[in-house]
């Protein structure tokens, strides 16, 4: 295992200290493992809290700041944080208007946030929850754990965060978060496995001419293994899955994210975006806004995820609203 770390057990603590040192706009509670905005929540503003296992940076800590999250709770690598962290985060940022938990749909995240919501209620904090489940690679049914939450998290955090900044109440912010999630679909492909610091070995062996189709962001294998193909064909596969699940019409406006999984050079992400733009242009689907970069990663995994969010004028105007976080910044 080759990592720039001191010890597998110390990764989270060291990285949190680094985040604290790097970003004066953030306030890091090392004891409770909470990354919060340095400025107090404006009284009456709904506070947004998200979190999940570490290893997906900049998600979530990199999205804490004006117009996006008020706090993030990073767990150990690929491990949901514990309820105490989430409670501490909620207490740190509640501005009296309630707290929105933005939770990616994984059993661990769901259960821990659920317990945290109960604890918060006991402390008199009103909590609403938005569950993110955008990954169309996963079969969805009442018998399964449901779809994973992946790229759409960025869209939900940005857009719900902007609405909260504008003074909307908790129900409105939660409703908008759910709307964005409902409008979003993702699909990911991996060229290599990632290696967690604790395990020290790649999660799976992948021959030099193969790729995993339909992977998540936790190093698990995907739905199937296939021959490595040109970017154009990989994009076609991913977009087919996305559009089959949520057909879009001519003229529909979208926000598209081409997201690197951690070990993929930006050069390749632009190659991928070019193919995405070509396919959507062909169908007269408009990419009104886009993100090309590594926003929701899976440690050092090489690969890409695509997220397409159907966007109306409200969503676009909230997208364009000012944001000032380590990983997304405009208008400030």
């Amino acid at each position: 295992m080759k990592k720039l770390i001191n010890a597998p057990e110390a990764v989270l603590e060291d990285a949190l200290a680094g985040i604290a040192a790097a970003h004066p706009t953030l306030r890091v509670d090392a004891e409770n493992k909470v990354i919060a905005r340095a400025d107090a929540t404006r009284p009456g503003k709904v506070a947004l809290v998200s979190g999940g296992g570490s290893g997906h940076e900049p998600l979530h800590g990199g999205f804490v700041g004006l117009g996006m999250l008020d706090a993030a709770c990073p767990g150990e690598v690929f491990t949901s944080p514990v309820p105490g962290q989430m409670l501490a985060a909620a207490q740190a940022v509640d501005g009296g208007a309630g707290v929105l938990f933005i939770v990616k749909n994984y059993t661990g995240d769901v259960l821990n946030f659920q317990m945290a919501a109960e604890l918060a209620a006991e402390e008199g904090i009103t909590v609403a929850t938005v569950l993110i489940d955008d990954d169309v690679a996963v079969q969805d049914s009442t018998w399964t754990a449901g779809r994973r939450g992946t790229g759409a998290t960025v869209f939900v955090e940005k857009i719900a965060g902007a609405l909260a900044e504008q003074g909307a109440d908790l129900a409105e912010v939660a409703e908008m978060g759910r709307r964005v999630n409902d409008n979003s679909r993702s699909f990911a492909v991996a060229l290599t496995a990632c290696t967690t610091p604790a395990s020290g070995k790649p999660g799976f062996d992948l021959p030099d001419d193969e790729m995993e189709i339909g992977v998540g962001i936790h190093g698990e294998p995907g739905r199937s293994r296939e021959q490595l193909r040109p970017a154009k064909e990989i994009v076609a596969t991913a977009l087919d899955a996305i559009l089959a699940d949520q057909p879009l019409n001519t003229g529909d406006e979208t926000i598209v994210m081409v997201n690197g999984l951690g070990g993929t050079p930006l050069l390749e992400l632009y190659v991928v975006f070019n193919e995405v733009a070509a396919v959507l242009a062909d169908k007269d689907i408009v990419i009104a806004r886009n993100l090309v970069g590594s926003y929701v990663t899976s440690l050092d995994m090489a690969g890409v995820s695509l997220t397409v969010c159907k966007a109306d004028a409200d969503i676009l105007s909230l997208w364009d609203a000012p944001v000032n976080t380590p990983a997304l910044r405009w208008g400030t």
Binding site: G75, V82, Q114, W143, A145, G219, E220, S224
Partner: protein
């Protein structure tokens, strides 16, 4: 089962988890996210620490404390699930000692709590597939008047059988479910740690 034994059980789990940490993580690497060993290790290390300076009034208090510590230190799916299980088991044992029948009832409360929280059924390829047969075996021995150690050994055997029986299953809950049919052929990490927990119980009470 008494207070001392309960504490020794938790310590024995911690030792077993320490020994099998890498194995649990490797199982989780195949069909999950490669953290189950580390998660369990973090949780049971914290639990034994929490118990060190604690003078529990009841058997149950030991296990409630253990469960609470797991919830506050593990994270992931296994933290709330095992944490609730231990809390439920503990809440059902509000006495300085517990006999085999009482313990069977407590284990049942623990399983109910896991199922209520995680909504998994037997056959979904989760810890339930080790827990449910272990509980059934323990209950059966209790009903037929066996002593605690015999019941615990039967439970451990059944848990290990259940653990192995997860191999051919297709996961319907937890991360392994994302793999669909590709989860077949792998042993569930949570069922494996459950088997460790029951084996630790059997060994603890047998050693006494």
């Amino acid at each position: 089962m008494d207070i001392d034994l309960a504490r020794t059980w938790v310590q024995a789990i911690a030792a077993a988890v320490d020994k099998h940490k890498d194995h649990l993580t490797q199982l989780d690497s195949a069909i999950g996210d490669a953290d189950h060993g580390v998660n369990m290790h973090r949780g049971f290390s914290a639990a034994t620490t929490a118990l060190t300076d604690y003078t529990p009034p009841t058997v149950g208090a030991v296990l409630v404390k253990t469960g609470t510590t797991l919830i506050s230190s593990v994270g992931g799916a296994s933290g709330p699930l095992y944490g609730s299980a231990f809390r439920a088991i503990g809440k059902a044992l509000d006495t300085p000692t517990a006999d085999t029948q009482q313990f069977a009832a407590a284990l049942a409360a623990g399983l109910a709590s896991v199922q209520q929280l995680g909504a998994a059924a037997p056959g979904d390829k989760t810890m339930i597939d080790a827990y449910a047969p272990a509980l059934a075996a323990f209950q059966q021995q209790a009903n037929s008047g066996s002593d605690f150690a015999t019941a615990a050994r039967a439970a451990a055997d059944a848990a290990e059988d259940g653990m192995r029986a997860t191999i051919p299953l297709q996961a319907r809950k937890g991360r392994a479910s994302y793999l669909g049919a590709r989860s077949i052929g792998h042993q569930d990490p949570g069922a494996t740690s459950t088997a460790l927990i029951f084996r630790a119980l059997a060994e603890t009470v047998t050693a006494r």
